[in-house]
């Protein structure tokens, strides 16, 4: 048993740090520098798609290398990539898509030229996703599916050129069967996007209405009726990525910084025992969760499965994210209230309320915490 990285891993870490130092766009040109950054990652040998397998152009990282890579990227606050194409759809295409589909869609996903959105949730199908009812009926000439229904909570649908979508092609048998995985363009006639304003005031999620949307049969991924199996694999993938532990470590440090900037009596908020202890308790749990992630990684590195521990990462990770946002909110004091373009009080207070409000979604998306507990009790504890 040891937690130290091997010499090779340490060299790899140095390589990643040097790469970031050399290529990360500095200060003001963060946005304009984005495409150069991703190009440099790509030329480095697939670092732009760290999780992709080698045969699809990925770097073939070992689990430890991937951990180090993610750690360094998080620590240096490198540009984020939307997960829908690269992390969510691509693995499904690689595993279940045809050769033609892979050649057609993967390049656009990789170079970020095509934005994707995820058409899963419906008004009647949230945590119980398999009860979805958006209908896809094969046309008489068997060339197209005609899709009718409504998707909801579709993140950034307004910016997407394509949607990957779960549809119902049969209602016979268990609800998990008869679901079909389709891809279509968002400018297809009959697709209508309406924003949903969330409690944080942002417009990132949408309702998407589908009325007689014509989807060519060649845009079906895999077999008809097997879409649930494909999506389920992806949901597991989505959940392990949602714990955001490294980001929470940074977020907690910044929450402490924020609290130190708030003057209270003779000191700062970080001198107030009630507040300081809350920070401490959170940090203790985060330390434990961090090491739990390492245990998962170590067990995968050793050629095993992620182990029982992996199941708790999303559940605990999102709870911690919310508690960090709450610390920022509490540190804002009365300046949590001002809304809009004004920002009286501490600089962080405006973002604090935003983070607190939007963060409520963390324990809902990707399978609500209560559903996660159902899953753990069934699959891990065999209850």
């Amino acid at each position: 048993m040891d937690t130290e990285f091997s010499q090779e891993d340490l060299e790899f870490q140095k390589e990643v740090q040097d790469f970031i130092e050399e290529n990360l766009p500095k200060g003001g040109d963060m946005w304009s520098g984005r495409s150069n950054w991703f190009q440099a990652l790509k030329e480095k040998g697939g670092w732009d798609v760290p999780k992709w397998p080698v045969e699809f152009g990925g770097p073939g990282f070992t689990p430890t290398q991937r951990y180090i890579f993610d750690l360094e990227m998080a620590n240096h606050n490198t540009p984020m990539v939307l997960p829908f194409g690269i992390s969510m759809l691509a693995p499904i295409l690689m595993n279940y898509g045809s050769k033609e589909q892979q050649e057609r869609f993967l390049p656009g996903i990789r170079d970020h030229s095509v934005n994707w959105c995820q058409g899963y949730s419906e008004p009647g199908a949230g945590s119980d996703l398999a009860s979805l009812t958006t209908k896809a009926v094969l046309s008489e000439d068997a060339k197209d599916y005609i899709v009718n229904g409504q998707k909801t909570w579709t993140t950034l649908a307004q910016m997407a050129q394509w949607m990957f979508c779960l549809t119902r092609t049969s209602s016979d048998g268990p609800k998990q069967e008869g679901i079909t995985f389709l891809l279509f363009k968002m400018d297809t006639p009959g697709v209508e996007v309406k924003p949903i304003v969330t409690l944080g005031g942002s417009q990132t999620v949408n309702d998407v209405y589908l009325t007689d949307v014509k989807v060519p049969v060649e845009n079906r991924v895999g077999e008809e009726g097997k879409g649930w199996t494909y999506a389920k694999g992806l949901l597991t993938h989505e959940r392990t990525g949602l714990a955001g532990i490294m980001n929470s470590v940074l977020a907690l440090e910044s929450a402490k910084e924020n609290a130190r900037s708030v003057k209270v009596a003779d000191g700062t908020l970080m001198d107030v025992p009630a507040f300081k202890n809350k920070v401490g308790e959170l940090e203790v749990e985060l330390m434990a969760l961090e090491f739990t992630e390492l245990r998962t990684l170590a067990s995968v590195s050793a050629g095993g499965s992620p182990g029982q521990e992996s199941s708790i990462l999303k559940l605990k990770g999102t709870e911690i994210q919310q508690r960090i946002s709450q610390l920022n909110l509490e540190a804002s004091g009365i300046f949590a209230a001002p809304w809009g373009r004004v920002n009286p009080g501490p600089r962080f207070s405006r973002g604090a309320m935003n983070g607190y409000l939007s963060g409520r979604a963390n324990t809902i998306y990707g399978g609500a915490s209560e559903v996660q507990k159902d899953v753990i009790s069934k699959n891990v504890l065999e209850l």
């Binding site: 048993m1 990684l297 507990k373």
Partner: protein, 375 residues
């Protein structure tokens, strides 16, 4: 990075598991607890033969060159078995201190005896006015010519009744709460001037109030440097916390798995209790608390093995988490067992009590949280 057990460690773990499976059912433990010394000398002999008393010590000192990671493996299994033998007092506390600071003579005499199983020892540190503060030491050792005279009372001294040697922290200089001016002495358990009030503790172990009245000790009995004993007290505390935490992790595992098994067979309202979602979720939370505690126990232990600067902080964090998780897991184990959870008959009652006491040993949640946030 490799978090799996080595082949040797797996064999070691298996041998501890086998010993407990063969020797440690609940009724045997009850008999041991009720015996004169509260544990089995026979078992202790076996520990020595199996080499368990030699684990953390270097080969130079006659040990096996193990590390706190090996102690963790052992203590986790001891926690599952609710072992009552004085391993913590003798090997972890006094053994650790001797290995670090003992003179060659002290090592030869005492550490050698500990490893062979012939000497039992304990550490007398707690005092009534100190709460959890280890440097709050009033028991004094005043110089009287060439010797020292120890006076004062130490509380909750584990297994003092059986101890051939007592390591005692004393004030030789400064004020009651100074970290400087503390000296550690190795005293014979039956030295003249020592009197004891022995009692069982609620978790089935043994302890004593030990009073020292003009107990004469010579400078050769000092462990480490005079007046500079506090660093060693902290080291002993760190190692004891790591061991106790591993024990707690083992105990928590039994509690949540026993609770799962019980709710599967207990039927009410025409269903096994395990069918009810509110109970499924509770047991999931118990599993999570155990899993996170185990993670942090591994982390802190490894940092200590590596001699890392971060070890101290991780040990404070560990004691906080262990205390909180233990409360959650043990209280819910009783709750989910319903009325049966209140009985002395079931094993969970005994794990419950052991975990409650572990929180009180070497600083509870609040004590360590306060330290943690100030580092």
């Amino acid at each position: 990075m490799d978090l799996s057990l080595s082949e040797e460690q797996t064999l070691f773990q298996n041998s501890v598991q086998k010993f407990i499976a063969d020797n440690y059912d609940l009724s045997t433990r009850r008999t041991l607890c009720a015996s004169d010394e509260g544990f089995s000398r026979e078992n202790w002999k076996q520990f020595a033969e199996l080499g368990w008393l030699a684990i953390p010590f270097s080969e130079e000192d006659g040990g096996f060159g193990g590390s706190p990671a090996d102690t963790m493996i052992l203590m986790e299994e001891f926690g599952k078995g609710l072992v009552v033998e004085p391993y913590l007092a003798t090997v972890v506390m006094v053994g650790t201190a001797l290995a670090r600071a003992g003179t060659p003579e002290q090592k030869a005499e005492i550490l050698g005896g500990i490893i062979e199983g012939n000497i039992l020892a304990t550490f007398a540190y707690a005092e009534e006015q100190a709460h959890h503060e280890l440097h709050n030491v009033v028991t004094s050792a005043g110089k009287d010519g060439d010797v020292y005279l120890i006076n004062g009372t130490k509380s909750i001294v584990l297994n003092a009744q059986s101890a051939d040697k007592i390591l005692v922290s004393t004030r030789t200089n400064g004020n009651d709460r100074d970290t400087d001016g503390i000296t550690l002495f190795l005293v014979d358990g039956d030295a003249e001037g020592i009197s004891r009030q022995d009692y069982p503790t609620v978790d089935g172990l043994r302890a004593s109030e030990v009073t020292f009245k003009d107990v004469r000790v010579s400078p050769e009995n000092i462990l480490g440097e005079p007046d500079h004993g506090y660093e060693m007290v902290e080291k002993i505390s760190d190692h004891a916390i790591l061991a106790l935490s591993a024990e707690a992790v083992g105990a928590m595992e039994v509690l949540y798995t026993d609770t799962i098994a019980y709710t599967k067979q207990r039927e009410q309202f025409g269903h096994p209790l395990s069918d009810f979602q509110v109970l499924k979720h509770r047991m999931t939370e118990m599993f999570m608390e155990h899993s996170l505690s185990k993670s942090l126990c591994m982390k802190a232990t490894m940092l200590e093995c590596q001699g890392s600067d971060e070890a101290k902080r991780a040990i404070h964090a560990l004691k906080v988490l262990i205390g909180k998780s233990s409360r959650f897991v043990s209280q819910n184990a009783v709750q989910l067992h319903g009325g049966m959870g209140m009985t002395e008959e079931l094993a969970i009652a005994h794990y419950f009590k052991r975990l409650a006491i572990i929180d009180s040993q070497f600083g509870n949640v609040d004590h360590h949280l306060t330290k943690f946030v100030d580092i």
